[in-house]
């Protein structure tokens, strides 16, 4: 089997931001400071008129500019998104063309959210191990803020838009991919969804009708809906078990893990998990102040920031767990080594 490693991560943030100050002006009750205390977030980036293809292309271009890798070397593009430009074709095909990837490159979308980056790594590893390709560009991109009602503070305070670009290649030098565990529980699908717009409930004048829920949040079936307490409950039950499973698979103990990078859902959730799992603060990475919850991009963004902040050293074991919409979850442990290529 061929070994594979990560070889560079870049990310793109759209320029428009939604700050706590602006949120506080628009919603009654919470001050900017209170929003920060409750969520750990100071600002979120908003895609505005950018589509997922635009965001993915921007992340890809940034990647090729920052790292010494040519578009012509890519033989597979995996695009993780829940907001494709069209039902068909795959947005990845559009991105292939605009990034100038070769015609010999495969390209496909896969639709996962919070667990998407971990699944993307697993798909990449499978393709490389099987000897089918050698150089994979995994891009995560979402524009969830477009689906959030501006009077629904249950979601508006939390989510931001971003795209991340990660290169996974056959080789021995760099952070190596280990085993994975996966999980799904479709009974939870209604707790984090956009009800209208797909084939189950096409958009119509009826789906645009807004209603205030029992907690005072306003939205229509066209908007993102999140049952915060159910998601919290799911996360508290699932994430510790996922950690145990991947540790057992790799025959490691929790104490041997040097850094934990979980999907950055919100600070309150992360802190509750950290305490429940008895992970020391210095080993638990939280970095979402300036981004919010960017769905499948939270883990790659956190990983490159942790690396740039000097929090990772050669040989460190890094546990990644993605969990959320679906319900879907996945976990893996990277063995850290610095990227074989340096930034330009």
């Amino acid at each position: 089997m061929n070994r594979c490693v990560l070889s560079g991560i870049s990310y793109y943030l759209p320029p428009e931001t939604l700050t706590n100050e602006k949120l506080a002006e628009e919603t009654k009750g919470w001050t900017a400071e209170k929003i920060y205390q409750k969520t750990g977030i100071k600002q979120r980036h908003c895609a505005g008129s950018e589509l997922v293809s635009d965001m993915a292309v921007n992340a890809g271009k940034l990647f090729f500019e920052e790292w010494s890798i040519k578009p012509s070397s890519i033989d597979m593009l995996l695009l993780c998104t829940e907001n494709p430009d069209y039902f068909l074709p795959s947005t990845a095909c559009i991105v292939q063309d605009r990034l100038g990837l070769p015609h010999s490159c495969g390209a496909l979308d896969f639709n996962l959210g919070c667990s998407g980056f971990v699944y993307g790594l697993a798909l990449a590893k499978g393709l490389i191990h099987a000897g089918e390709v050698e150089n994979i560009l995994l891009i995560t991109a979402d524009t969830l803020t477009k689906h959030i009602h501006n009077k629904d503070s249950s979601t508006r305070t939390l989510f931001g838009d971003a795209a991340a670009s990660v290169f996974i290649t056959k080789g021995d030098t760099g952070p190596s991919l280990g085993r994975f565990i996966f999980g799904t529980d479709g009974k939870g699908f209604r707790n984090l969804m956009i009800p209208a717009g797909g084939m189950a409930l096409p958009r119509s004048p009826e789906t645009a009708i807004e209603r205030t829920d029992d907690k005072g949040y306003l939205r229509s079936p066209n908007n993102l809906f999140m049952n915060g307490p159910e998601i919290f409950n799911f996360s508290l039950k699932t994430v510790p078990r996922a950690a145990e499973q991947i540790l057992a698979r790799e025959q490691l103990s929790q104490e041997q893990i040097d850094l934990f990078i979980f999907h950055q859902s919100n600070t309150f959730m992360l802190e509750t998990l950290r305490r429940a799992m008895k992970i020391p603060e210095q080993k638990f990475y939280i970095n979402m102040e300036n981004f919010g919850n960017t769905v499948s991009s939270t883990i790659p963004i956190a990983l490159i920031n942790a690396r740039d902040e000097g929090k990772l050293k050669e040989g460190d074991l890094v546990m990644l767990i993605g969990f959320g919409v679906g319900y879907s979850w996945g976990a893996t442990i990277l063995k850290w080594a610095d990227f074989p290529l340096s930034r330009k």
Binding site: K215, Y217, P229
Partner: protein
Amino acid sequence: MTDLEKINLIANALDIMDTDLTEGTELNSFKEWDSMGIVSIMAMFDRSFAMILSVDEIQQFRTLGDIMARMNEE
């Protein structure tokens, strides 16, 4: 745990500053009793009592007394 300690635990979890809280105080009288508040109470039960309450159960609570009674069951 005394009743006052239980009320303080709940008030801290919900980030409520009011000082005249009693068992009969209605949860709907606080703007903090929103989805974040429900999550905070779930976290409090998990942290302080090692109990994971279901969302349905927490949504049945009407007063501070309801929450305090559930603490007694531990």
